[in-house]
C-alpha cells in the first residue's frame, strides 16, 4: 500500500495508538494538524477522545474545517472517523451543545440508560457489532465480532441507509456509519485485536 495517510491531530487524545497501527501495517502515515498534509494525503483518519465542543473549536482554531470539507466532500478522499472523530461527522452534539461537521444527517446524544446500576456510563469495554449493510470496511470481519468501546454519547442517525453497524447496550444504537467515501466508527479498531486490524486494513485498501 503506497498511499499516504494523514492522522489529523486536533489536540485531543491518544493518536499514538492509531499511528502505531499504521506503522505495524507498514503504511506511510503522518500525524499532523497542518492543512497542507491533509491536502497532500490520499486518505484521512480523524481519531480523537474527549469533548465534542472543545474538539470542534480546536478544528476551527486550526483552520482545518474548510480543508476537511474540501478533501472529503469535493475531492472525495476516503476518511475514517474513530470515536470522537466519528461523532464530529454528525450535525450536532449534546456534549457542549455544539455543531459538528454535518457530513451525516445525525446527532450525537447522551447515553440515557434505563438502569444506572446495570448499565454504567461510559459504555466501556468489548461489545459486539452487527453488520447492517455490505461494505468493504467489513471485509473478512465476522458478524458479531467484538470491538473495544469507550463513550458516553452515541449516534442518532436520521437516514437509516447510513448505518453500517449496530451495537446493543441497554438498547440498540448505531456503532458505525458509512456514506460514499465517509466512514465513522464509534469503537476503537486500533485497540481491537485482529478484527480491528482487519478493519483498518480494509480502510487502507479503499
Amino acid at each position: 500500500m503506497s498511499s499516504k495517510v494523514v492522522i489529523v491531530d486536533y489536540g485531543t487524545g491518544n493518536l499514538n495508538s492509531v499511528k502505531r497501527s499504521m506503522d505495524r501495517m507498514r503504511v506511510n502515515s503522518v500525524v499532523s494538524s497542518d492543512y497542507r498534509d491533509i491536502i497532500d494525503s490520499d486518505k484521512i483518519i480523524l481519531p480523537g477522545v474527549g469533548h465534542f465542543g472543545r474538539a470542534m473549536s480546536n478544528l476551527k482554531e486550526l483552520n482545518l474545517i474548510e480543508t476537511l470539507n474540501d478533501a472529503v466532500l469535493v475531492k472525495q478522499k476516503p476518511i475514517l472517523g474513530i470515536c470522537l472523530g466519528m461523532e464530529l461527522m454528525a450535525k450536532s452534539s449534546e456534549e457542549g451543545d455544539a455543531d459538528g461537521l454535518g457530513w451525516f444527517d445525525a446527532e450525537i446524544i447522551a447515553f440515557n440508560v434505563s438502569d444506572k446500576n446495570l448499565y454504567k456510563v461510559p459504555h466501556m469495554g468489548w461489545n459486539k457489532i452487527f453488520i447492517k449493510k455490505n461494505s468493504h470496511l467489513m471485509k473478512n470481519i465476522i458478524e458479531s465480532s467484538e470491538f473495544y468501546f469507550v463513550h458516553s454519547y452515541h449516534l442518532k442517525v436520521n437516514d437509516e441507509s447510513d448505518i453500517l453497524n449496530e451495537t446493543n447496550y441497554d438498547f440498540t444504537f448505531p456503532s458505525a456509519i458509512e456514506k460514499g467515501n465517509i466512514f465513522g466508527v464509534q469503537y476503537h479498531p486500533e485497540k481491537s485485536h485482529d478484527a480491528g486490524a482487519q478493519l483498518l486494513k480494509n480502510f487502507l485498501e479503499m
Binding site: N14, N16, S17, G50, V121, V150, N168, K191, S192
Partner: protein
C-alpha cells in the same frame, strides 16, 4: 449481553514484573514486555501496569517503559505509579497509554482528580482505591502502596472520586491480594451499588469461578487479577495465562 472486561494487573518494580501477597512478599515473575506479547496472543481485553514503588520513591512510572508497552499492546492499557501532576498525565498519554491510574495523589489531594478529568476527559482517569481494615475504625482507604491510611471510608471515597470526575474505579482489597482465595465480594458490592461509573474488582481472584462471582454477586464491570494470570495454580509456578472468555458463564 454486555460482558465484563477481564483485566490482568501487572505489578512493576521499575522494569521487572513482580507479584505480592497482601502487598508484601514480592516475587519475581519476569519481563513485562514479554508478558504483553503473550497477552496479545491470548487476546486479553485490557492490561494495567502499576509501578508499586514509584510514589514511595517520588518518581513517575518509566515513560520509556510505557512506550515499549504501547509498541506491542493491541488492546487498551492503563498505567499507574507516582502520578502527581497534569504534566505527568500528559506525558503518560503521549507515551501511549489510554488510561492513567491514580492512588496516592487521589487520597492526598482529591481535587486533583477533578482537574485531571476536566483536562483529559473522565474515561482517561482511573482511581485505584486500596482498602484494608484498621483496628477500631473498620475499612479505610490506603495510599502509598498500602502503607498509609487515609480518613476516607471506601464508599465515601468512591462517591467523592465519581463526583470529581473519575471515569472508572478499581477497588482493591489489600487483605485478599495474592491469596487467590476469592474477591471481597461484600466490599465490591458496597461500591458498585453506590456509584454510576464502571467498577473494576481487584484482589484475591484465584480461579475463574471467582471472576464469575465478582460479576454476578459483586456486580463488577471489570474483573482484574494479578496472581490468576501470572501463576499456573495456587502452587505459584509462573505461567502467563488468560481465560477463554466465551467459556465463562456470565449469564
Amino acid at each position: 449481553m454486555f460482558r465484563p472486561r477481564i483485566i490482568p494487573v501487572l505489578l512493576l518494580r521499575d522494569w521487572i514484573l513482580v507479584k505480592s501477597i497482601k502487598f508484601k512478599d514480592h516475587r519475581y515473575i519476569g519481563d513485562p514486555i514479554n508478558a504483553v506479547r503473550i497477552f496479545n496472543d491470548l487476546k486479553a481485553d485490557e492490561l494495567i501496569f502499576l509501578d508499586i514503588e514509584a510514589s514511595k520513591n517520588n518518581r513517575l512510572i518509566s515513560l520509556d517503559f510505557i512506550k515499549d508497552v504501547g509498541e506491542e499492546a493491541q488492546m487498551p492499557f492503563g498505567v499507574g505509579g507516582g502520578v502527581r501532576s497534569i504534566e505527568d498525565i500528559r506525558a503518560i498519554i503521549n507515551a501511549g497509554a489510554e488510561k492513567v491510574v491514580i492512588n496516592t495523589h487521589a487520597g492526598q489531594n482529591p481535587d486533583f482528580i477533578r482537574e485531571a478529568s476536566e483536562t483529559f476527559g473522565s474515561t482517561t482517569i482511573v482511581v485505584c482505591i486500596d482498602v484494608k481494615k484498621k483496628i477500631f475504625k473498620g475499612e479505610q482507604t490506603w495510599i502509598l502502596n498500602g502503607s498509609l491510611s487515609t480518613e476516607f471510608k471506601p464508599v465515601e471515597f468512591a462517591q467523592l472520586m465519581e463526583k470529581n470526575g473519575a471515569g472508572e474505579l478499581i477497588i482493591q482489597s489489600i487483605e485478599n491480594d495474592g491469596t487467590m482465595e476469592g474477591y471481597d465480594i461484600d466490599l465490591i458490592r458496597s461500591i458498585t451499588s453506590e456509584v454510576g461509573v464502571p467498577v473494576v474488582a481487584l484482589g484475591g481472584a484465584g480461579n475463574e469461578e471467582h471472576l464469575v462471582e465478582a460479576y454476578r454477586d459483586g456486580r463488577a464491570n471489570g474483573l482484574a487479577a494479578g496472581s490468576l494470570f501470572v501463576y499456573q495454580s495456587k502452587k505459584r509456578g509462573v505461567l502467563i495465562n488468560y481465560p477463554e472468555k466465551n467459556g465463562l458463564m456470565f449469564g
